[in-house]
């Protein structure tokens, strides 16, 4: 289990990392937590000619609430998110962070790295898609900011340009009366989801004023299930409207048939997870504190 040879560069700052990336070209990869990249390199499924290690840059592991947004630094680990006081008020972030793989992976893996990887079965993308998330990118020639939906372009493909690095994620704080939930089905603890559902709802009295739904692991990219969200909006979230929305969510994806299950089985998982996620999100929107856990085989 040894990777192919590569050169190693330790970045002193993100700017330095961007400059080195620009200099070394597309054969270079950034190393942050390494929880996806290192196993892929050991299996020789990925063989970058150079690694630019950003893991030693100080001050990038922040999760801060600032001006109505959460700023998630490039080196904030899943564990940092799970333990973040700032993020406690957005339970969907905690659902996701605390349910990733095992404690070793959570202690090393980073939120930003997970988005950069754009693995179709990754946990973070659906969650951050139902929140308003901007990706801050940094390059030699300056910065830019992109919406997350446009950032993820395809399986393992993002809008990052050559020489560009992700600096932080900026997640708009949710309002009072808004609640979310993220649930996945996983065959055992340390593996990627077979299917996952993220839901964020805003209630006005008993009525769902706004809904956002995103599905993970059921297509080449996370699926924003607009029709499903529409089915929830304006309803009082009774069993019937939730069932209709669940159906719309299942219809909005074409899950691949693979070792994790058949297309129809995964659609059934989506319906199940969706129903529970909506119920939990609604309770949280009403101010209840609800603990949830992923579904495991």
């Amino acid at each position: 289990m040894y990777p192919r040879p590569f050169t190693y560069h330790r970045a002193a700052s993100l700017k330095d990392a961007a400059a080195t990336l620009a200099e070394l070209g597309p054969e270079a990869k950034l190393l942050a937590g390494g929880q996806s990249l290192v196993p892929l390199m050991k299996l020789r499924l990925s063989s970058p000619a150079a690694l630019i290690d950003v893991g030693h840059i100080q001050g990038l592991n922040y999760i801060r609430a600032e001006n109505g947004a959460f700023r998630i630094g490039a080196l904030a680990r899943h564990t940092d998110m799970a333990q973040s006081a700032a993020a406690r008020h957005v339970p969907i972030l905690h659902d996701c962070a605390a349910g990733i793989a095992d404690v070793q992976v959570r202690n090393w893996g980073t939120v930003v790295g997970s988005i950069a990887e754009a693995d179709p079965t990754g946990d973070w993308a659906p969650v951050l898609l139902v929140l308003d998330t901007e990706v801050e990118c940094l390059a030699n020639h300056g910065r830019r900011s992109l919406g997350l939906a446009g950032f993820i372009q395809d399986a393992f493909t993002t809008a990052l340009r050559p020489g560009e690095v992700m600096q932080e994620l900026r997640v708009k704080a949710t309002e009072r009366g808004s609640g979310g939930c993220y649930l996945a089905f996983k065959r055992c603890a340390p593996v990627y989801a077979s299917a996952s559902v993220a839901v964020q709802l805003a209630l006005e009295g008993a009525t769902c004023r706004q809904a956002r739904v995103a599905l993970g692991a059921v297509a080449l990219t996370p699926v924003v299930a607009t029709e499903s969200a529409k089915a929830l909006e304006g309803s009082d979230l009774n069993a019937k409207s939730i069932a209709r929305a669940a159906e719309a969510a299942a219809a909005s994806c074409e899950p691949p048939c693979d070792g994790r299950g058949s297309t129809e089985y995964k659609r059934a998982l989506i319906r199940k997870l969706f129903t529970q996620a909506v119920n939990v999100a609604a309770r949280r929107a009403r101010g209840e504190s609800v603990e949830v856990s992923h579904h495991y085989a």
């Binding site: 289990m1 040894y2 192919r4 040879p5 299996l43 020789r44 095992d102 089905f185 065959r187 055992c188 603890a189 340390p190 593996v191 990627y192 070792g259 994790r260 299950g261 058949s262 129809e264 089985y265 059934a268 998982l269 319906r271 199940k272 579904h295 495991y296 085989a297």
Partner: protein, 844 residues
Amino acid sequence: MADRSSTAPRREPELLPHQEPAVEKPARAPRNGWVGRPIERKEEQRHVRGRGKFIDDFKLPGMVHMCLVRSPYAHARITRVDVSEAEQHPGVICTLTGAEIAKLTTPYIEIGPDPSARIQDYCMAVDLARYQGEPVAAVIAISRGAAEDAAELVQVEYEPLTPVMSAEQALTDADVIHPAAGTNKVWQGTFEYGDVEQAFRDAATIVHIDRMHFHRFSSTPLENNAIIGHWDQRDENIRFWCNNSFPTIGIQLVAPALGVHIDRIRVETHDIGGSFGIKITNYPYMTLCALASRKAGGKPVKWTETRTEHMLASAHGNERTFLDTRVALDRDGVIIGIDSRHLDDCGAYPRYEPLGCVIWTQVFAGVYRFRNARINFSQAVTNKCPVGPNRGYSRMQQLWFLERCVDLCAHELGIAADEMRRRNYIRPEQFPYTTPNGCIYDSGNYPGMLKLAQERLGWEHWKKEQEKGRAEGRLIGLGIGTTLDSGTNNFGQSRIVNPHAPFSGNSQAANVKLDMYGEIVVSVGSVPQGQGHETTASQVVCDVLSVTPDMVTVRAGFDTERNVHTGHTGTYASQFAVSGLSAVHGAAQKLRKELLRLAAYALNAPEDQLELGIGKQGAEVRVRGTDRAINYWGLANIINVNNAGLPDELQDVTLNCRYTWRAPFKIPDLERKYGNLTLTYSSQLHIAVVEVDTDTGNPKILDYCAIDDCGVMINPRIVEGQVHGATAHGIGAALIENCAYDDSGNMVASTFSEYTPITSVNIPNVKYGNMETPSPHSYSGAKGMGEGGAAPVHAISAALQDALYPQGIYITESFNNGDSIFSMLAARRQGRSTAGVRTERRAK
């Protein structure tokens, strides 16, 4: 080949006289000492602190590394292997190819008879690759990294052939995997006892089950295979540091393949991170390391397997298909006859097989009383990873088969699951019980275990919950799995698969001595992989010598040169508690006798007035009721370093006592396939409560109970740990873990991300309980219990059956996950039948 002593089907076997004299009973040890106490394991400190010594931790002077190039094809002709570029790579010392292997070695001895004996199994593919992951070339380099880089430069050309992916396909012989054998059939035999035809004529009901299938899985030890081989050019001796768990078999295969005398091979094992039987078959890699070392100029060569290599090419458990099963029952639902055809898939090379073709007959009858049965058993090679003796080896498949039969019949006849079992269990008063094939079950109380399990679980509570749930449309099932763990096997059963097999009986050796300063040192050549042999051996010695475990040093681990062993030594098949500890007990008793004789001389007192104990100066022998004593240092001193003037009658005292324990076995009757195959029979009774999600098909364990009876427990903590471990393995096998192949022969679960071995989030709280029916066949009353009979697989299959029977679904696969249950539910909703089970009721 019917059992000649029977002429009619018998429903009341307890009326039968024992057909074989009962096993000679050893004297029972007293029960107030260290044996039976849940003491902390001696091994715990080093393992919890990461101070174990595993093979990959060893770094020898001049050591180099081997990396293997493996076939991506399940079945292909190798037309060209070009290592020239790899050999030019910096750091590469040499390479090995199949062509060289064919010149340097002879094929391994096959255990099976002709024609499968003609199978040519080398440590590397020579002209045909027969499973995905089979080694086709080796690169030896100064570092593992360099070896892996160079391995990518080896060019191999293949001509793909039709992969043979099931035993059914293999037995057609349309594509023959081993041309030298001329057939894919490895072994075939009929096991028939009683009068099967009469039983079916007498039956009130006959249940037909078209097909059942027990899937492939592996117990995935945490530590992969690892070997260092050193062919020393100074003396031409070969030394292995390895984690093979049955080294005496390993070297009996490696030595002839290499063409060297076995005494030139030294094998050492150290700490091992689990084997579960899988590491018994790592001997081809031992051979490769030895050859690599010789070609590398006598440098030690290390090979450490990666997880992907382990999943692809170490060993999987046996896969078995049960066809055309018929079960005859009387009007009370008592099984009176079974007739079935079993096909075993052993993968690309038989290796330890076809021993599995007879080992299942240790539990031919399971826990049931039927006397008439005919099972036609065949084994075939396929283009999959070779199988190895995985935890529950070859018996769990048979136990699952019988449990499915009993369970399906109960549902078909409308008899409650627990009642069905009570009607069919061997009864407590029948022990020792001789099975239709001559095995002697030493002890057990299956109805008692069922009662205990039902109480511990809260059976009545769950039956009510099930009823309530059904009214709400929920699918809840309760399932019982009753199993046996047969331990200390009679190697004579190998003669049933091959009359010329040179094995029989069973034996283990131990040595207990006083070292020069009176230290008590126990040597057992066993190969523990987490079973706590150092602890249990010390408990046994403490009781004999009246000392405490901290005073006893136990040297476990195999070492051909430096530790005791017999030809059966290894750690496998649930036997150390009986075979290993009987040897330790025998050696400790010899030492005790010597200590008493010596002390009698030293203290000038008659032996019968002496006692062993702990005094102010440590362990000692004293004159009872006085303070006249000599401690172990004093006794050791007299014999070891201060022995001038020792009287003649003490000249034979060495304080260094070896004892070889032999199991009291006979060679079975080969024609009738009849005889005692195993010394002890632990039993397990598990109950699972499982709910199936009606929308997704996902099964969820709501409650779980595991009762174990291994007779007298040497160390209840270790027993409980083994039960939990075996339960986790079984739940994983039943619901999550499957060594699945696609039609092209690709192993689709070659990483842990895909194989998904069970983790803590998948395991319910297990309600554990213990029952004790002491074995009359071991001195301590203990029975081997490491494997556990895969009870969770049976219990979960039964629970799923109970949940899904009202839906018209039959559970005929051992592996059921949400995906497969979802498709069964979907098929039923569309009105399609999912499996062929039918019940024929006859006017009686």
